[in-house]
């Protein structure tokens, strides 16, 4: 049988964004794969050099438009380390709340995209329905549904609105009921398990070598969660369980799915604790306009390890910014996950990886 290359992208229902997955198929079996990225490269690291420190938050929001706050927060954290700014405790707690709300919204967007990937359009509508509630919470908190521009160097933009904890409890209570529904729609379904179990397997060593991070790495059974490993903000004061695949040899689509899915529940737990524990006080510290030195921060983004390295040369704008995007590194490992599986598994594997083209192409 003649092998030939099939383009899955740049305009293809499989790609959630603008990128191209070229797969070489022999009949239905994938013999080789080659991600082609860069369609959405906007030169972030360079643009940030000509904008002031505080104004770059607007840009970093757009790195990944479904997970804005986590990215802006990583940038703010790096800048704070460079400027030696101490965020007041209330500011830290507000950040934790907003980060976890954003994580749930981002994971729900992934769940919504994973449904139609497998032909389950009902999953899309259901997940978007609950995502709306969390976007409402974010809107209540920051005034915007997307690209919130919420974290600031030195804290958060504004305080919690009145009765925010009540809204949080109410929505989380409702969301927990809906999680059971998702369970019966997704991983209780025999066909869903047929499509995901044992598909797109990557070994633990390969995953570490290729720089796979986040839920994708935890699905291989590696307990790496920067919220636990290098607690930033007040994550050391909340009680939560990093979601690691414990059922033997993981690393397949099903393990990745389960890790992400269980993180929804864990994030709910964190939010509940955070809105209870949040102290009174200021929520934002004054940050200097100019800075000199180096700042380095890595956080647990919704998709993996987000890393910012900022250098200041005494000016009011960064001299150099380096962004490490988790999806960019995971994308390099996808040929390993894809080889040997069927063509229909491309969607099941890449959907479980949770591709965000904005941060991948920077």
């Amino acid at each position: 049988m003649v092998e030939f290359w099939v383009n899955m992208g740049p305009q293809h229902p499989m790609t959630h964004g603008l990128w191209n997955m070229r797969v070489k198929i022999d009949g239905e079996t994938i013999t080789d794969a080659e991600p082609e990225i860069g369609y959405l490269h906007r030169g972030y690291e360079k643009i940030m050099e000509v904008r002031e420190f505080q104004k770059n938050v607007v840009l970093t929001d757009r790195l990944c438009y479904v997970s804005s706050i986590t990215w802006s927060h990583a940038y703010c954290l790096a800048c704070e380390k460079m400027m030696d700014v101490e965020v007041p405790p209330r500011g830290q707690w507000i950040r934790v709340i907003s980060l976890e709300l954003q994580r749930i919204a981002s994971h729900l967007m992934w769940l919504a995209a994973y449904g139609p990937d497998l032909g389950l359009l009902t999953g899309l509508l259901w997940a978007l329905r609950e995502r709306e509630l969390f976007l409402d919470l974010l809107q209540l908190l920051s005034g915007a549904r997307m690209n919130q521009n919420f974290p600031r160097i030195g804290g958060a933009r504004n305080d919690l609105p009145p009765d925010f904890d009540k809204y949080c409890f109410k929505i989380i209570k409702h969301f927990r009921e809906k999680l059971d529904e998702y369970e019966s729609l997704f991983h209780d379904s025999k066909i869903f398990r047929m499509r995901t179990e044992g598909v797109g397997r990557i070994s633990r060593a390969d995953a570490i070598n290729w720089g796979v991070t986040g839920p994708n790495l935890r699905a291989c059974g590696v307990n790496v969660d920067f919220r636990r490993l290098e607690p930033y903000e007040t994550y050391d004061e909340v009680d939560f369980e990093p979601q690691v695949w414990k059922g033997g040899d993981g690393g397949d689509s099903y393990a990745r799915f389960m890790c992400r899915f269980n993180e929804l529940e864990e994030s709910c737990r964190i939010i509940e604790q955070a809105v209870k524990k949040i102290p009174e006080g200021p929520y934002r510290a004054k940050a200097p306009r100019r800075a000199e030195g180096e700042g380095f921060a890595r956080t647990e983004d919704s998709r993996g390890e987000a890393l910012f390295y900022v250098i200041g040369d005494g000016d009011d704008r960064p001299y150099r910014v380096k962004i490490r995007s988790p999806v960019f590194c995971t994308m390099a490992a996808t040929p390993i996950m894809l080889r040997g599986y069927k063509m229909a598994d491309v969607v099941s594997i890449l959907g479980s990886v949770d591709v965000c083209v904005g941060e991948m192409d920077k």
């Binding site: 030939f4 099939v6 899955m8 293809h12 229902p13 499989m14 198929i25 239905e28 449904g115 139609p116 990937d117 497998l118 032909g119 389950l120 359009l121 009902t122 509508l125 259901w126 329905r129 729609l185 379904s189 066909i191 869903f192 047929m194 499509r195 069927k342 063509m343 229909a344 598994d345 491309v346 969607v347």
Partner: protein
């Protein structure tokens, strides 16, 4: 008691109708051209109009037109509407809401404005018509490198083979175009022509996605077509006939009495036929290309599968006729396993016309049949919108390793029970 609206059959009704029309015309001609007048040769036309072969030919044509209009216009739109409304509700949304008051021209817009009606909060029945009109207006693009002749043949093959099913598919004893002795065989043969069209469409488009889609259709065909036919063999063991109307008649006998209500001896109430029903319904979902088995047009990885290169109404034709196949498939399941159009006739009006009593059923056979078909179709829709799509190797596994052994088991049991069931105390 006759419970069908169309009786004794569609052809006879059409023959009576066309004979009446032609009689009026020929009488008019005969009256206007009396013998000896200069236009006397026109009387030949009048005699021609009343020739028997001419009337028979026209009666067939009208019967076919009625059936195709009924199926392709009314039932197709109804099924599409039902599916879209039903899965929208499943997904917590309203679904299509275009109604007659949404039409942007007089008198509808005027009336809606005057009555202050919300224009886009109707039932949505007209949305599919609007979609069809939109597709009609679109350009038909033939890819430059496609095999043009075959590319244009494929939709015709798919559409015509689908319409062919309705030549033998009865909606009641009388509402059928042709009651041929082996109608079931004809229906199944017409059903399995379409995958050939899919293969042609996929190959001739000269596109990698369509090629893979067409090849998947061909591979899938073997996996579900064989269990489909084997499950039918089990039904034939009980019915002893290949005529669908006979098969329904066999199921009308009462099986047992639950109080005053007789339970009919539908095939699904017997052990082997229930296994056969499970196999047949699963294979029928693959035949209809519904979601767990719609891998030839898996839109997630193959864009739109074998349909990718089609545009305009050519796309609309093959896409819309999927629902017609779904109608035929559901109807076939109802005929084979759920007693067809038989159902309790609660009350019969029996007005006397002269000296004869004409029984008029409250719920005619056609309505019973459609109720069953719609309910079964909704079950299919329900399943297909709550499960993901299976993979090509998985459907081959399901077909060869599960469905074929199960259908063979159904045949074995059916043969045994058909032979020894009465001796075992009426086990079936």
């Amino acid at each position: 008691m006759s419970g069908a609206l169309v009786s004794p059959d569609l052809f006879t009704l059409c023959k009576v109708l066309i004979t009446g029309i032609m009689k009026i015309q020929s009488d008019a001609i005969l009256a206007s051209a009396p013998v000896g007048s200069p236009v006397e040769p026109l009387r030949g036309i009048a005699y021609f109009l009343m020739e028997d072969w001419f009337l028979t030919f026209n009666a067939w044509m009208i019967a076919i037109t009625i059936m195709v209009t009924w199926a392709a216009a009314i039932q197709l739109l109804t099924l599409m509407w039902m599916e879209r409304k039903f899965y929208s509700r499943l997904q917590d949304r309203y679904g299509i809401m275009i109604s007659i008051w949404s039409l942007p021209f007089w008198p509808f817009s005027w009336w809606a404005k005057r009555k202050n009606k919300p224009t886009h909060k109707g039932l949505g029945y007209l949305q599919n018509v609007a979609d069809g009109v939109k597709l009609l207006q679109k350009e038909n693009i033939t890819p430059a490198t496609a095999d043009s002749a075959m590319f244009h043949t494929a939709p015709v093959l798919i559409a015509s083979s689908t319409v062919m099913i309705f030549a033998a598919l009865p909606f009641s004893e009388g509402f059928v175009i042709a009651n041929v002795p082996m109608s079931l065989l004809f229906i199944l043969a017409a059903f399995s022509l379409a995958p050939l069209g899919i293969l042609i469409a996929g190959w001739s488009s000269n596109n990698k996605y369509t090629l893979i889609g067409g090849m998947r259709a061909a591979a899938q065909l073997m996996a579900y077509e064989i269990p489909l036919l084997l499950a039918v063999v089990a039904v034939l063991m009980y019915a002893g006939s290949l005529n669908v109307i006979d098969i329904v008649h066999k199921q009308e006998l009462p099986l047992a009495m639950a109080g005053p209500i007789p339970i009919p001896s539908w095939n699904v109430f017997s052990i082997p036929q229930f296994i056969g029903f499970a196999v047949f319904a699963t294979a029928m979902m693959a035949e209809m290309e519904r979601i767990p088995f719609d891998i030839p047009e898996a839109e997630a990885e193959l864009v739109e599968g074998w349909l990718t290169e089609y545009s305009g109404m050519r796309f609309g034709l093959v896409f819309g006729f999927k629902w017609l196949r779904a109608l035929a498939g559901s109807a076939l399941v109802v005929i084979l396993y759920f007693g067809g159009w038989s159902g309790p006739v609660f009350l019969t009006l029996a007005p006397s016309v002269g000296s004869t009593v004409v029984p008029i059923p409250i719920i005619p056979h056609e309505v019973w049949f459609l109720i069953k078909v719609y309910l079964l179709y909704l079950v299919f829709v329900w399943v297909s919108w709550s499960v993901p799509r299976v993979r090509i190797d998985q459907i081959l596994n399901i077909g060869w390793k599960r469905l074929i052994p199960l259908s063979l088991l159904a045949i074995l049991l059916a043969a045994g029970l058909a032979a020894f069931g009465p001796a075992l105390g009426g086990v079936r």
